[in-house]
Subunit: 488 residues, 2 copies
């Protein structure tokens, strides 16, 4: 499998490119991303979908620069896919031929169903597991939907609904009623299915999620996997569609470069939600490009990661942790301590995984600097633990690493992330267990060369070694459970 | 030269170990640090300096664990130095022999002058350049001083003044007058010299600086190179010496583990300041251990780094920047733009260096994650650009990288770091110049394959290439100079 893969995606609104690098079997990271807002479909819908000269030239120029960039990264493979803008264009051949001849680039026009499927497998593999979910990707020219249940993707569907399309055909003529009729007509193609969660892909949805995030003063600045209730979305949609001016849009945190297409996109969303009965909404930061990449990366495993495999965890370990043995032993020890004490502390078993992972990733921060490595790990986890985790889990794992030294999580921190963290007592106890694991491994080699027993409030550490530094480190720990003792 | 070097430093208060790794000729980073508060001198001063059994055993146990740790890092060299606690101990031989026999460790007792010199070369090489400065390292048993002028160190001096020593000999008996007499007597050994700046080394000084930092709500959490006026220090010293209880010490931000030695240390400082006429104080995060390391690393260059060499910059480049060519070209371009426009923008020439360095380090953040790499670079610079820079420079360089994309520095950011940043207009213009440099290098290969000319408010970019993406990127930039134009 190629180490570096470039994917270019020609949409109606923008042309985008990502270059991924594989760091181990199924772990990868984004090397580069490029976006050019060429709007290849500009004025096309008014001309029966025919691409116009100037937009085509812009797309050509952007692709030309993109290919230079991809070459400079020495990408081993390049996939260039085009969606509705080219699919629907009667004059697409001219463009395809010119690009092929002058740029040596083969553009593959993918069907709407394929496009929906790519978006679907990106979500199924890179979002926290969802059941009975529908993904929706509102693009410039078309809207793709797919049914996602756990890591299975089915019922891919593509509708001729898009922001630029609706803008040019209806909104520019102020025919909102016409737009609604057209949308509802298209949405009739949606098969009846049980849907609980809506997964939002693409620029329109990200813009809406981002605005909601700002209004809610959400504490984590991460769109991927950002969840909210459908009622929150419905309320925001109403306000957005009722906005009378760009100024009002701005006060709703909409960026000026979306002013002209946000309403058509929002209207599609509104009409869809009316038809299906969902309770939860989750934002996806991934879509077609990631789907194309995964369909190549996972081509021998039915487009699924192995069971219990998380690509972001693997990436952080591969890229930032040198001392794997410490990482593994620390995680083992944290699990052992959890198993011995969680009933005593009254901590739900479900937190065992988070504690073990926090321990495993704890050494990552030293790649930034030895001092304050706990803070660097916290920073790395918040930035790079992106795929497959709920924000709740990301924040808990990050918090445990941040306070992995002597101190318990500060009340400022607990207050700030209250929405995402478990009860204070749970977070503090888990934090203490991680700190205790690290303290117990103060000696070298960092092996679990001691026996642990827990009875009557007391953890007994039995070893043939003196464990002088471990004792000193344990003595410094803050713990809220007054009766709990560690005895060497 | 060894790749990994361990330095163990046996002080009266604690035993510390650092392990440094060299990443290129003169660039290194801290791999590991260990500290054990063994207080080897406990009760020694009351017994004519003789080390007592229990403290000696603690030191032995700590050293035993330290050596295991050093071995686990496969350090190629190990230096173990001991200072006043062992220097003054009549029974030191027993301890040295036991350690040598059982741990195979050679402890080198260094003279007070040597100790002062090591502290001096650490400061001379790792702090921003100082003129007519006096370094002071208040330890548990002795106080070391050295004269530092630019990167020259002279007049090393060691006095039998120390926090633990004064505590046991005077403070425990409540004989403050006696302590003052004793200190003043010792300080008479200080030769007359012109001193403008006091450089503070060691735990006592760090504790004081840290408290002052908290009182002043200083915006950058970095003790090394933290500067303040002598009047600020004098005021704080008065309050500290007048504190009537541990509660009052706590309200002055003194940690509980320093309650018993902070006053003796502060008194030494107070008496010294009375004798010399300084205006500025600067905190050093480095001392004897770094001095021992540097005296080995720089043994063929008179204990000095090469001219214009900065070890932290080199470390960040070596460890975090893969695309060196981009780093170099971006820096070249930023300098070129600065040279063309700085008079027009009214920017002092002294900022050229900061802009060029911000450009050079800009690519570092992608080692964390591609998205928000500007923020990651900002974070890395704040954490790892530590040696040889004033906080003003660190914050300006970091700020320029943080806002290296489209946006100008936010008013919140400028307000928060106001104490450390230049005038808003200067910061914003430099930020714009860095953003412009990055935008102009949007194409590949990232060569300066265009000509730049500046006249009549307009920067002319002449190239045989289309530079499509560069144009698009430049068009997105925020700039406060309304008349300034870029023409392709």
């Amino acid at each position: 499998m190629a180490k570096r893969v470039t994917i270019i995606d020609i949409g109606s609104n923008s042309v985008r490119m990502v270059i991924y690098e594989k760091v181990s079997r199924f772990a990868f990271h984004l090397l580069h991303e490029e976006k050019s807002k060429v709007r290849i479909s500009e004025d096309a819908y008014k001309h029966g979908g025919a691409l116009q000269e100037i937009p085509m030239q812009r797309a050509f120029d952007a692709l030309s620069d993109f290919i230079q960039i991809s070459n400079s990264f020495k990408a081993n493979k390049l996939f260039c896919v085009a969606t509705s803008a080219l699919r629907d264009a009667p004059n697409k051949k001219d463009f395809l031929q010119k690009v092929k001849k002058e740029l040596k680039l083969n553009i593959k026009i993918i069907s709407g169903e394929k496009e929906a499927y790519f978006g679907g497998i990106a979500c199924a593999n890179l979002l926290p597991m969802q059941e009975n979910a529908l993904s929706i990707d509102i693009g410039g020219g078309s809207t793709e939907l797919a049914y996602i249940d756990k890591n299975n993707v089915s019922h891919p569907l593509s509708l001729k609904l898009g922001t630029v399309r609706l803008k040019e055909l209806y909104f520019d003529a102020d025919d909102i009623e016409g737009a609604i009729r057209y949308i509802d007509e298209q949405l009739q193609m949606l098969p009846a299915m049980k849907v609980e969660t809506l997964i939002g892909i693409g620029g329109t949805f990200r813009a809406i999620s981002s605005s909601i995030m700002k209004r809610e003063t959400y504490p984590l600045n991460k769109l991927h996997a950002y969840e909210f209730k459908v009622t929150v979305l419905q309320e925001f949609i109403e306000e957005l569609l009722n906005a009378k001016s760009n100024k009002e849009l701005k006060s709703l945190f909409i960026n000026s470069n979306r002013f002209d297409v946000i309403k058509p996109g929002t209207l599609i969303l509104q009409r869809l939600i009316k038809k299906i009965n969902i309770s939860k909404v989750i934002t996806s930061g991934v879509g077609v490009r990631e789907g194309v990449y995964l369909s190549d990366l996972l081509r021998n495993s039915k487009h699924k990661f192995p069971h219990n495999y998380n690509t972001s965890v693997r990436y952080i370990i591969d890229s930032h942790i040198k001392d794997r043995q410490f990482s593994n032993n620390l995680s083992l020890l944290a699990k052992k301590l959890f198993d011995l004490t969680h009933e005593y502390f009254g901590i739900d078993y479900k937190y065992r995984y988070n504690l073990a992972l926090a321990a495993k990733l704890y050494p990552a921060g030293s790649s930034v600097h030895f001092y304050s490595q706990n803070k660097h790990t916290y920073y790395l986890i918040k930035s790079a633990l992106e795929f497959g985790f709920r924000h709740h889990d990301i924040m808990l794992i990050a918090t445990l690493t941040k306070y992995a030294k002597n101190k318990l999580p500060s009340s400022t921190h607990l207050q700030l992330y209250k929405k995402l963290l478990p009860k204070e007592q749970v977070t503090k106890t888990l934090s203490f267990l991680l700190s205790l694991s690290i303290a117990l491994l103060s000696h070298r080699p960092r092996n679990l060369d001691f026996e642990l027993q827990f009875e009557k409030n007391t953890l007994h550490v039995n070893s043939s070694k003196k464990l002088y530094l471990s004792k000193e480190a344990v003595a410094k720990l803050e713990c809220e459970h007054q009766k709990f003792k560690v005895l060497f």
